[in-house]
């Protein structure tokens, strides 16, 4: 194909100069971009203002599309449900019966828990969620894993609040706009979450790997007690997340822990709840660097 762009700028002085200026502007643009990039890697919250305004501006569109997406997905699911309906029905009936029994047992345990706590004089108020919202979208093309939800400062959402779906933890609020906020998902490289195994008190950290899996790192090193299929819940350490919310299932055992799969896959999530910070005092304490604490 012959080149279609006008490469040669003729003898016109004006055309030559404007082309030259174009190159200069492009070079300066790239330099400015590099400087901005360095600044925002150094101070990630520096440019959150324009981002929030931009996400607020487009939130009507994203919310509508998210609603449509959820409905079309449930249609596909209901069509798929017709295949294997019979055998699945029988299996589900058996499962539901067992689950009903277990639920009654859990009721009894909860009752006993309440009684024991009453004896000890412990107060453990259930925190109702601040807001319930649709997961409107995510940064699907970037290495960073952020999601957007349709509630913001006007609904009482603040930075640091945990976000959960009916299945388990989704992430934590990172930036808040007026009607829209950005969630740091668990699979992001920068996300760290204190967890424990459901069956005992083995505590660990769940770190995002950036590829959809979690790296579960044990705090106490030694003989690795984890097994495939272990379920992990939040431990409540750090003060951000309330304890006992499902996080991950171990799928592969490594030297210092395991690789885990998310229980609450964001792709299968439509509605999420924003919870208040579990222990605000502890969360503030955890933010203070140890040097400052010693210096006081």
């Amino acid at each position: 194909m012959a080149p279609t762009g006008q490469r040669r700028s003729s003898y016109s002085r004006r055309a030559q100069l404007s082309q030259f200026t174009g190159y200069i502007v492009a070079g300066v643009g790239a330099l400015v971009g590099a400087v901005l990039l360095a600044l925002s890697i150094w101070q990630p919250a520096l440019f959150s203002g324009p981002r929030e305004i931009a996400s607020d501006a487009v939130s009507p569109a994203t919310k509508t599309v998210a609603a449509g997406r959820t409905e079309s997905k449930s249609l596909i699911d209901s069509v798929r449900g017709y295949f294997r309906a019979g055998s699945q029905n029988a299996a589900l009936k058996r499962e539901a019966e067992i689950a009903r029994i277990r639920l009654k047992e859990a009721d009894a345990v909860r009752q006993e828990n309440l009684r024991l706590k009453g004896l000890l004089g412990l107060q453990d108020a259930e925190n109702p969620p601040m807001a319930v919202a649709r997961l409107v979208g995510s940064t699907a093309a970037s290495t960073r894993r952020f999601a957007y939800i349709g509630v913001g400062r006007n609904q009482g959402v603040r930075v640091g609040m945990p976000v959960r779906s009916p299945r388990g933890v989704v992430g934590r609020i990172l930036e808040v706009g007026a009607d829209n906020s950005r969630v740091l998902m668990l699979t992001d490289n920068e996300s760290v979450l204190p967890i424990r195994r459901t069956s005992d008190e083995v505590v660990a950290f769940a770190e995002g790997r950036g590829d959809g899996l979690l790296r579960i790192r044990l705090i106490n090193l030694g003989v690795n007690p984890l097994k495939k299929g272990d379920v992990f819940v939040t431990s409540g350490a750090g003060g951000y997340y309330p304890p006992g919310i499902a996080v991950a299932i171990a799928t592969e055992i490594t030297d210092d822990g395991a690789l885990g799969r998310l229980i609450s896959d964001p792709a299968a999530t439509d509605f999420v709840a924003v919870l208040p910070i579990f222990e605000p005092d502890a969360a503030i304490g955890a933010q203070t660097p140890i040097e400052n604490e010693l210096g006081e």
């Binding site: 979208g137 940064t139 093309a141 960073r144 950036g210």
Partner: protein, 184 residues
């Protein structure tokens, strides 16, 4: 009576009688389509790993390679700025990478003015692969082997989608120069 050719008074962009190009559309089409494309990934499902190709960058490269001369060299700055608002990358990442990509393509075009589509595809493939890799490096997250492997499907998908992006650009280009009925 012999019928005259019904297409004799029209060209590729429609009838020429009482119709003319829209100046606004002709100038704004590349810009608007790239802005919409960089905003597109937000609509998609909240995936646990990066899967979607960088649609904005893909369309920018396609406009630049399929219709050279429409986008100025400095277009990477304003378009990248908009992309940074929605991409989730640190602010400035797209400004830098898009400007650098346009400058690099300019240099390539200066040395290889005669190209076929396959060569353009090759250029675009290298550009998109580098863009994804550098995007990961600049994402502010500690780089690891796992993230690098997770990038694989995205890069392959982006390279395979370039011909589609080129066809979309070709269709948009026809729409850009379409003749509209003039009033009065």
């Amino acid at each position: 009576m012999e019928r005259i050719n019904p297409r004799s008074r029209s060209d590729t962009y429609g009838s020429r009688i009482n119709r003319s190009h829209s100046t606004v559309l002709a100038n704004a089409m590349p810009w608007i389509s790239i802005l919409l494309a960089s905003f597109l990934p937000v609509f998609f499902i909240a995936t646990a790993l990066p899967l979607l190709p960088p649609t904005g960058f893909l369309l920018l490269i396609a406009w630049r390679l399929v219709r050279p001369g429409l986008l100025p060299v400095w277009a990477g700055f304003p378009l990248g700025l908009f992309d940074d608002l929605f991409s989730g990358q640190p602010f400035g990442s797209a400004i830098f990478l898009w400007s650098a990509a346009l400058l690099a393509i300019e240099a390539i075009e200066m040395r290889l003015p005669w190209r076929t589509f396959v060569q353009d595809w090759f250029t675009a493939g290298i550009a998109v692969a580098l863009y994804c890799l550098l995007g990961m490096a600049f994402s502010g997250a500690p780089p690891s082997l796992a993230t690098l492997i997770a990038l694989g499907p995205q890069i392959v998908l982006s390279i395979l989608l370039f011909p589609l992006a080129a066809r979309i650009v070709a269709a948009l280009d026809r729409l850009r120069l379409r003749r509209w009925r003039t009033l009065g």
